[in-house]
Subunit: 306 residues, 2 copies
């Protein structure tokens, strides 16, 4: 594997997307959040994944906000852009934009509107994008989150794409939240395409299996904690870190995930603007936010350690 | 209800989208297909629904193809544009375009990427579009096809939207293909918002219940047959028409629905260009198309009667 195609290592948070009062992307706050995550030791950031409500934003909004990250001082090679759309020409446009600014690479779902599609159809869709973009610099991370997208990436699809594009396909993000599935993917592919899990409780197990990075939603508020689970999964403190992760997820389980992650940011930064979400999501109610704030206060996130 | 907001009646086929060799929209063929359907007695056409692979096309492609229908001689008021996108600003853009050209109205899914969203979030999403477009001429048809979109429209959502926008919400397209669900919707809403079924075997039952129109995929190749089931559901010939519909669906059941509908068009027009689909769909193989053609030949579609 050439060094130009070395996949990322460490934590690249699945960035939450802060919004203005009119529910547009708050670009200065978006860039400030990215800078803070990098300052906390994250190796990069991943805008517009599922946690970032990516497909809720238009092509223009997504391009503009990625530009704003760069203009705001985030090195382009530290940005892994999720370019997933239902329409392939739009995925192509976002992927070309990511290449043009010099982003690290792209994270890409299969087209997610039609369901029950065949493996052949999904392979054809990725081929469309890769062949149209036709750029040998493209580093593509395949994104598997069937419980949201409604369309899965089978091992057959992944294997076929890796065979067709050995230099382009550098990683797989498995956000199925099924540890056995992630381990099976690692068994099948980790020597050829790095496997990253989106489910933080699986980081320790996958680290031991050879996984060297993560795209994590929890890393928005606990970047150091997640980073340690990725890089020091075998060290004595890992059990404690794992407990912290499970406790945090236990709190989040009482709410809708993305509104609650934003609610934690609102509490930690004492900035209610972070509560905003774009429909079809609904922001935490005042009562929910108050309850969550109390839970997070008791959990006591430590900026230096979490 | 003011006459300006009278919902449509009769059959408005869910148009298949013909493609060029490079899988762009074949705009001249698209317009010719619409003209042929209107000439066959359809009251209008519905581009870019699920049968039309709507969300597989970019904003620009969809706007351009709707313009091409009008430029190709299709009266704008005979066009009901499906403007469904995952990102609300893009649904707004398509809806504004439909209004600008004078289209009859818009058919609109809820945002379909995130799953498990609340009724409140879906209502918020429609409010965003309606309030942003802010045009009293807008006629909106709510689109329920949970087995594809992965997001359902509950009776609570429909009732709330009709209450908020009594002049704008004029109809509901129920493509759940569950007759009991369609009848329950008719019981609840048909006096306030017309209920249309997308499932042709239910047309007779829903016609008897007061439904006066349909957005139908089968109407691409059998417009007269579907039109009779909608308007003459109680006449002596209806049982025979119903048998024809069931037999046609029985043939289609052996294939992927959209590729097979296009395969029938290819056979009827002796034009293999109709076979093309955009990924993630896969076109019928030669063997499948040969088998389907033989079945359709035996079924013997009659241009004057079907």
């Amino acid at each position: 594997m050439s060094s130009a195609h070395t996949p990322f290592t460490g934590v690249w948070p699945a960035m939450l997307t802060p919004l203005t009062e009119s529910l547009a992307i708050d670009e200065p706050k978006f860039a400030a959040h990215a800078r803070a995550l990098l300052a906390a030791g994250c190796k990069g950031v991943t805008p517009f994944g599922t946690t970032g409500e990516g497909p809720s934003f238009s092509l223009d909004e997504r391009r503009s906000a990625v530009d704003a990250l760069v203009a705001g001082g985030v090195a382009a090679e530290r940005i892994l852009v999720s370019t997933s759309c239902a329409a392939l020409p739009e995925t192509v446009a976002l992927t070309r934009h990511a290449m043009a600014i010099g982003a690290h690479g792209c994270l890409m779902l299969p087209p997610f509107f039609l369901k029950g599609v065949s493996d052949q159809g999904i392979v054809d869709a990725y081929r469309w994008v890769i062949d149209t973009v036709a750029d040998t610099r493209l580093r593509l991370y395949l994104y598997h989150i069937p419980q949201v997208a409604g369309v899965a990436l089978s091992p057959g699809v992944i294997g076929r794409l890796k065979e067709l594009y050995p230099q382009t396909i550098v990683g797989i993000k498995d956000s199925s939240c099924q540890r056995e599935h992630s381990l099976a993917l690692a068994d099948a592919f980790i020597d050829r395409a790095m496997v990253y899990v989106g489910n933080e409780p699986d980081l320790q197990t996958l680290g031991a299996r050879g996984s060297t990075g993560a795209i994590s939603g929890l890393a928005n508020m606990t970047p150091r904690l997640v980073q340690r689970l990725v890089t020091r999964f075998a060290e004595p403190g890992a059990a404690h870190d794992q407990q912290r992760v499970l406790a945090l997820l236990d709190i989040l389980g009482g709410y809708g995930l993305i509104p609650a992650l934003k609610g934690i940011m609102a509490s930690l930064q004492n900035d209610r603007g972070w509560l905003r979400v774009r429909p079809p999501l609904v922001a935490l109610s005042d009562a929910e936010h108050e309850r969550l704030s109390a839970q997070i206060h008791a959990f006591d996130i430590d900026p230096a350690g979490d």
